[in-house]
Symmetry: C2
DNA sequence: TTCAATCATATTGTGCGCAATATGATTGCG
DNA sequence: CGCAATCATATTGCGCACAATATGATTGAA
């Protein structure tokens, strides 16, 4: 029963399709706030941080590089949700800080995870199992 | 212990990051063949099919729309791996067929899933659990 | 101190994803 | 039959992802 080249028999395709489906669900809920899903992830990271984060620190947390983050952060800046300034202590670094507007979005976003969770409707235990397996995959592939 | 707005406490972020990590792993192995990961998925669908598939049928299987597929298929056509022709029986449809070159790639691609599987290193049982949960998520989100 | 190596971010180029819209073919109702 | 609604694909526009490269700041060894 070995059909590794069937679309539905591989792990990679459900993973790819599920990630897009979840991103799409988030995107629709985030559209009201004028945010994209990756922009929401950047804000999540900033909301969790006591102080501004550099582009590199955001990249580490989100596993994204400057080619993705630089234009995304400029759009968030244009929208008024963050500020970008060189770190005076190290002019190579660019520090990203939340504005009042960026802070305020936290309230709007607070309901969204539960809404998507309700759509998906898997229980907490299964979600933990899933998260554990996904984290294992990330760690294994990223440590090479 | 309710911190829904922490990056690592949500399911969506590991899902997003794992899908990108797996896509990246595949992309590196596919680069030799000059293929991208979505192009590989299209070929997977065609390799599994007895006869040519229309753009719409490919879109159903891959959960992608014509905005993504049309340019991708034109690139596969330019590379010589598929042909695109109107269905004589219904001129609205465009049929995608494998060429000899496209068929030949099946041999090159055959090793790749096992290689990525070895990198990820989760056992078959866990992979089945994961696939089941991901499929549930896809079904729930797509049926709305 | 100097300057080559390293580091952090930015830029460029290509290929997705996807919403919105356009175009042309087909169908079916009156 | 005639034509409006529907259908399949294509086009447009925007925002990621990411590899490759460029730019400018910092560091450290001679």
């Amino acid at each position: 029963m070995d059909r590794p080249l069937e679309l539905d028999d591989q792990l990679c395709f459900p993973l790819y399709a599920a990630a897009r489906a979840v991103t799409r669900a988030y995107s629709q809920l985030l559209a009201d706030a004028g945010l994209t899903y990756p922009q929401y992830l950047v804000l999540l990271a900033l909301w969790s941080s006591e102080s501004p984060l550099s582009v590199g620190e955001l990249g580490e947390r989100l596993h994204l590089d400057s080619g993705t983050l630089t234009p995304l952060l400029k759009r968030l800046e244009t929208a008024g949700h963050v500020t970008r300034r060189r770190d005076p202590a190290d002019e190579r670094r660019v520090l990203i800080a939340l504005t009042g507007s960026g802070e305020a979005l936290r309230g709007v976003a607070a309901e969204i995870p539960a809404e998507v969770g309700a759509m998906v409707g898997i229980d907490v235990g299964q979600a933990e199992v899933l998260k554990g397996l996904l984290t294992t995959i990330i760690d294994r592939l990223e440590s090479r």
